[in-house]
Symmetry: C2
Subunit: 211 residues, 2 copies
DNA sequence: CCCAGATTGGAATTGCCATTCCAGAACGGG
DNA sequence: CCCGTTCTGGAATGGCAATTCCAATCTGGG
């Protein structure tokens, strides 16, 4: 049953130490460039220059551009989630939610509200053009949404949140507000929209607080 | 004072009847292709074939690809706002807000949740690469947000909404929820996220209803 | 130390894309 | 009906991007 269709990872190529290092260097350079100029606006020669590698190295490690894009998607997901920890794993109070979102807003202001969300931008650009990227990005959003949901669930289990609250729905709503708020803020070059969007959803969650 | 920096529209080229028709045909074909494949994924030859025109016609009417993209941005904005009318201009009750968002959700389901939002996708792709497109898209979102805000303001003026409600902030939050919900739904190929996102924000608005 | 496999450099190939150019055909105001 | 302007066709150009190739150089286990 598991042999009918290979899961596409039959053999993982052995990596030596310098190999792993240049591989990482390529991913980081590509992620940076694609964040600023989009996937379509980033060429292999661009990445070569930024990572100080030759073309053959990129194709050696990733097969083709799509393979590299996939690696970038997962790298950005790991990076973004990591940089939100430990706040992300402790979203079990209204204050924690507000602090977490405020930190993102400040970070956004710090870069002039340019660039938007690393994952959201990739998602928008790749959703219709790269099916496997879309799948991975769907998983990325799930990984992001889960800790939100868990935090709310913990609040509810402790009796701090009404039983009437649908924590699954609320977690999705907050993530959506974050994404939509980031997009509006990116276009308007002002974090106001982001702040208003997350504030509205957290205010709404707060109405379920039992006191 | 108005002569120091030309507003970039010193002379509008005269258009004959067939000229206006092919011009429109180009914009429509380009909008369609760019919606499905992104701006970067749509080449001039693609547009030529879809609109049944020669290259010189495209460059005659739009100067270059960026000019065409700008025209597409404004075309999509007009089209999207028009297709939401008359609901969009009567968002002055909770039921009206829900009906309006539900219609968008059904429309999304009807196309398999593919494609996302015409304006949001353009915004994400162009925000960092085309300054004038970003400006226009910022205006597009303003045009979209305004009727929401007006509807809420009318409710408030009528005394149906508490004075404590910040209609400006709430309108932004709803638009952000729509954008973020659409993005999540596009990636997940399920309108659930969109429905949860807008539902949360409208529920929140409802808490301000005076009864 | 030795060799298979991993890693690298750099040029060559192929194809497509944005844009230009040059006539020629249609239009429409006077 | 005439002429400047608009509109159109189609080929040519120049550049760049993705990918391939091959030969050379490392690396690490036995």
């Amino acid at each position: 049953m598991n042999s009918s269709v290979a899961v596409e990872k039959p053999e993982r190529r052995r990596l030596t130490e310098p190999g792993r290092k240049t591989r990482d260097r390529i991913i980081e350079a590509a992620a940076e460039l694609m964040f600023h100029h989009g996937v379509g606006g980033t060429s292999i020669p661009d990445i070569q220059a930024a990572a100080r590698v030759s073309a053959s190295q990129i194709y050696h490690y990733f097969g083709d551009k799509r393979g590299l894009v996939l690696a970038v998607v997962n790298f950005q997901t790991d990076t973004k989630l990591d940089q939100q920890r430990p706040l992300l794993d402790n979203l079990d109070s209204i204050d924690a939610l507000r602090a977490w979102c405020a930190k993102a807003a400040d970070r956004q202001d710090a870069m002039g509200c340019a660039g938007g969300c690393e994952i959201g931008s990739l998602a928008s650009e790749l959703a219709e053009t790269d099916p496997s990227a879309r799948t991975d990005l769907s998983a990325s959003f799930d990984r992001w949404e889960l800790p939100i949901r868990s935090g709310l669930a913990r609040m509810q289990a402790r009796g701090e949140l009404s039983e009437r609250a649908d924590v699954v729905s609320l977690a999705t709503a907050l993530l959506a507000a974050i994404q939509g708020g980031m997009l509006l803020s990116q276009v308007r070059r002002s974090s106001t929209a982001y702040r208003h969007a997350v504030s509205a959803v957290i205010d709404h969650i707060e109405t379920y607080v039992v006191r």
